[in-house]
């Protein structure tokens, strides 16, 4: 079992101004399940993208099955025997299971003239039997649960006769039962000699399923250890290093009698917002903690008017308001910074100035026209204030780094003079240096009297920034904690507090 199937040595990768991989090493043995862990932005995904040919490495060496290996595209990697299952499923939901598995290499009959659906279904059925999966090959994909769809994706990958299978946070959207099923299948695959790279944030799962753990931090290789010889705390320490920003806040900066700027009571919206109530005080940073799918983003979107509200009241500075549309929310001084900047926060094809002003052109109209001088001046002012690194304010957004893009979104709401800011995963996809800049900025804003809701999946971030913490689980508020005396453990307790348990 100690034979190496894949080794990566001294891998470097740079993007415009970001050194994403700084000489990373990685080693994988036949039939092992190897966890690759690290915080967001540590470089795990970049590493895997280099391995599967999505990115080309700048330097370094990959040895695969004892030979030098340099994939230029995913297809090459796949045909060599390296497959990846992404966090989001990449399949055609209107096709059948079998059609999805054999897409691009369909079973043919009559000398390659017609599709052999029957034969293909049989092949898929045999594949599922071999993998001990209970799935009907003729079912249309979108009729399966997410868990089953993931199984199909694994089956598809395995049908390529893989030597190495990469699983990027495969359990994020699965229920416990489905996770158990997945693990059974993974162990089965491992016994057949397939090596697996398992990317996950969930420490318990890593302990359960993996043989070895490799930790990355800030694009660097930290170390590799046998899972059985290492504790959860060790892994976390390796991930975090000695970075100071992890130090939690000791005491709330907000007095208990500060004005309530936003009061939400019994809010219901869709499947993931059930009877949510909370208060936000002036100058406060209110952390929203919880696992993925806890309904935090959905709550924010409902308050902001992006999604429909079924029932409940929202009061801004004591006045009940009916927020039916983001326009109304913005008019009441609420700003929302989405977790998915590129889709919901920015027009990446437009310039810094156009993005900064997107919410506020009204304020800079003189008569019919926009005052060009004034909007340039205000943009320059905020580019300096937030130290946004851009050659000119006419630069297109897709040429800026993640951190600077995030700052442009912040500038947009500051120019709009929003008093209540909802930061949804403010540091996702941002490198560590820019991260602490964003933290400093948020603290400054709170000190200036702006009120902030911060949704974050990173507990250290929650503990470092929040004055108070709301914990959600499956659409309900399960806990409200003062920063004083709260801990990761306590938050996790509330975050996993399911209704029927």
């Amino acid at each position: 079992m100690n034979e190496s199937v894949l080794s990566m040595k001294g891998i470097h990768k740079r993007f415009m101004g970001v050194h994403a991989l700084k000489g990373v090493d990685f080693d994988l043995r036949v039939g092992e399940i190897h966890a690759l862990v690290g915080e967001n932005g540590a470089g795990k995904s970049t590493m895997m993208k280099v391995l599967t040919g999505i990115y080309e490495k700048d330097s370094g060496e990959i040895q695969f099955l004892g030979k030098l290996f340099h994939p230029h595209n995913p297809k090459q990697a796949l045909s060599a025997g390296i497959g990846i299952i992404h966090q989001e499923l990449n399949m055609m939901e209107h096709l059948t299971v079998a059609q999805n598995i054999y897409i691009g290499r369909e079973t043919m009959k009559s000398g390659g003239l017609f599709l052999d659906e029957k034969g293909q279904n049989q092949r898929a059925g045999a594949l599922f039997d071999r993998l001990n999966m209970n799935i009907d090959a003729q079912e249309t994909l979108n009729r399966l649960t997410v868990g089953k769809q993931q199984m199909v994706e694994i089956a598809k990958a395995v049908s390529h006769d893989l030597k190495v299978l990469i699983l990027d946070e495969p359990t994020a959207a699965l229920t416990e039962v489905e996770i158990e099923e997945l693990f059974t299948i993974m162990r089965d695959l491992a016994s057949k000699g397939v090596a697996m790279i398992y990317i996950s944030h969930r420490m318990d799962e890593i302990g359960q399923i993996t043989d070895r753990v490799t930790v990355m931090r800030d694009g660097e290789y930290v170390g590799t250890n046998e899972t059985s010889k290492i504790t959860k705390e060790d892994i976390i320490n390796m991930m975090v290093g000695r970075v100071i920003y992890e130090k939690p806040k000791v005491k709330s900066n907000v007095s208990a009698d500060a004005e309530v700027v936003l009061e939400v009571s019994s809010l219901n919206a869709g499947r993931l917002v059930k009877d949510v109530s909370f208060k936000l005080h002036q100058g406060e940073i209110l952390g929203f903690a919880g696992l993925m799918g806890a309904g935090r983003t959905e709550t924010a979107r409902a308050i902001f008017g992006a999604d429909e509200i079924q029932s409940g009241t929202i009061k801004v500075r004591g006045v009940p308001v009916k927020i039916s549309d983001p326009m109304v929310a913005v008019a009441h001084g609420i700003g929302y910074l989405s977790e998915d900047r590129k889709r919901y926060g920015l027009a990446t094809g437009l310039s810094v100035i156009e993005n900064s002003l997107m919410a506020s052109y009204n304020k800079y109209e003189t008569g019919l026209f926009i005052h060009a001088g004034k909007i340039r001046a205000i943009t320059e002012e905020y580019v300096n204030k937030l130290s946004i690194k851009t050659p000119t304010i006419d630069q297109l957004l897709n040429n800026l780094s993640g951190g600077n893009q995030q700052k442009v979104v912040i500038a947009k709401w500051l120019i709009n003079d929003a008093q209540i800011l909802i930061f949804d995963e403010p540091t996702r996809g941002i490198d560590v240096g820019a991260k602490s800049e964003i933290y400093t900025l948020m603290n400054e804003l709170a000190a200036q009297g702006k009120s902030i809701i911060m949704i974050s999946s990173e507990l250290p971030e929650i503990l470092r920034m929040s004055d108070r913490i709301i914990v959600m689980c499956e659409g309900r508020v399960t806990g409200e904690l003062d920063i004083e005396g709260s801990s990761q453990k306590e938050i996790m307790k509330y975050a996993t507090m399911r209704e029927n348990v």
């Binding site: 740079r14 993007f15 415009m16 700048d58 695969f64 099955l65 030979k67 030098l68 290996f69 340099h70 090459q76 060599a80 025997g81 902001f304 992006a306 983001p326 326009m327 929310a329 913005v330 008019a331 929302y336 989405s338 889709r343 919901y344 926060g345 920015l346 027009a347 990446t348 094809g349 437009l350 156009e354 002003l357 997107m358 919410a359 052109y361 009204n362 109209e365 019919l368 026209f369 926009i370 060009a372 006419d394 897709n398 040429n399 947009k412 709009n416």
Partner: protein, 416 residues
């Protein structure tokens, strides 16, 4: 010093936005000169007037359609809406006895109403623009025929008292002098459209909606309203185009206008407007329209018949978009500086510094420095090319090695 800095900035800016903005006008000028040299009597006032005449109505609807395309939509109905409005106006004047000015206003109202209809369907009812405007295209063609009773409408000719409106688009002097006043109207319309697109809230929001509709909505932008306005403007310009058509061609036949929208869209695309939204300019569109009408007038002067025009327009459309794609790809490529590049950059900076020093010195000292400078230049050139060469060989070597490794690897796989 500050002047130099500004000039440099300007130069960079021109280079940044340049290419695209200057490519289309340059193509137009080259085309014009080309026909001037190879065509018969092309460099004449008449053919210039012909070029201008041939583009009025397409020009107006192309301006309107540019607004819609920037929002990320498409308006297939502009051609038939234009002709529908024209024939209704003509019928109102001829059959219903409306005064000329009222008939012209009716034309504008009818066309704008169709634009409004499109806007409602797309922004409120969330119909895909392609489908909504395809429907409107057919509806407007039908409406024109129904109201005119499938009879053509003839507008008054120039000598009649009500023929005054023709002078708006073409002024005929007593001595046979023709002034293409329509060109001026088109330019004024284009300037107004330009101001709306670049200097007003509406324009900025139209770009924002086209670039990322959801982000605009989540910034509190009234997305529905601005999307709607783009279609209304498209309708209005179709109305102006209808008046221009009536002025130039006098007789309007029923069920005409199909195909005009494609020329308008082609004009916008040649001018650099992106069909995926968020990018575009009115003047680019105008250039695109004039490239097409230059082809239309120029090809016959080379004894190539009209059908060659459609052929070449097609070539130009595909060429323009290909060029744009290629250029965008180049622009977004990440350049990795090799040691040779870094060397050259630092040395170039050194030269710039020396130049500044020289400008402060005078006489013999300056001469000596200048000699130094020349020597340095030669040295840089040699070192740079040497480094580049080494890098290239190294790169080739690595590539060959990797290729060999991949090949061997695959053979081994097959062997298994």
């Amino acid at each position: 010093m500050s002047d130099i800095g500004n000039n440099k900035k300007m130069g960079n800016r021109i280079r940044e936005i340049g290419m695209q903005k200057f490519l289309a006008p340059a193509a137009l000028v080259i085309l014009y000169i080309f026909f001037g040299i190879f065509g018969r009597n092309f460099f004449s006032f008449t053919s210039l007037v012909n070029i201008l005449d041939a583009s009025y109505y397409i020009g107006f609807i192309a301006i309107g359609v540019t607004f819609v395309i920037i929002t990320g939509g498409i308006d297939l109905s502009v051609g038939t809406v234009m002709m529908c409005a024209a024939i209704i106006g003509g019928t109102a004047y001829k059959s219903w006895g409306w005064p000329m000015w009222l008939s012209l206003i009716l034309i504008l109202i009818v066309a704008t109403a169709f634009g409004y209809f499109n806007g409602i369907m797309v922004s409120r009812l969330k119909l895909p623009p392609f489908i909504a405007t395809l429907g409107t295209m057919m509806i407007s063609m039908g409406v024109g025929s129904i109201i005119s009773n499938v009879r053509s409408a003839t507008f008054p000719i120039r000598s009649e008292p009500d023929g005054w409106f023709k002078s708006i688009f073409k002024y005929l002097g007593d001595d046979g002098l023709t002034i293409p006043t329509g060109f001026i109207v088109l330019i004024i319309t284009a300037i107004i459209a330009y101001l709306i697109l670049t200097k007003t809230k509406m324009g900025r929001y139209i770009f924002a909606v086209g670039s990322n509709k959801e982000a605009a909505r989540l910034s509190g932008v009234d997305v529905q309203k601005w999307e709607m306005m783009a279609y209304v403007i498209s309708g209005l310009t179709a109305g102006i185009g209808a008046i221009a058509f009536a002025a130039v061609y006098t007789t309007v036949m029923p069920a005409q206008g199909q195909g005009f929208e494609l020329y308008a869209i082609a004009g916008a695309v040649i001018g650099g407007t992106s069909l995926s939204g968020g990018v575009g300019s009115v003047f680019g569109t105008l250039i695109g329209v004039y490239i097409m009408s230059t082809l239309r007038v120029g090809l016959p002067s080379m004894d190539l018949q009209a059908h060659y025009q459609t052929f070449f327009t097609g070539v130009v459309v595909i060429g323009a978009v290909l060029l744009d794609l290629y250029r965008n790809k180049r622009a977004s490529e990440v350049r990795i500086l090799s040691p040779a590049d870094t060397y050259r950059n630092t040395q170039t900076a050194k030269i710039a510094r020396m130049k500044v020093e020289i400008s402060d010195l005078n006489g013999a000292e300056a001469e000596a420095k200048k000699g130094e400078l020349t020597a340095l230049r030669v040295e840089i050139k040699a070192t740079f090319s040497q480094m580049k060469k080494e890098e290239k060989t190294e790169k080739r070597r690595i590539l060959a090695e990797e290729k060999a490794a991949v090949k061997a690897f695959h053979q081994e796989l097959k062997g298994d």
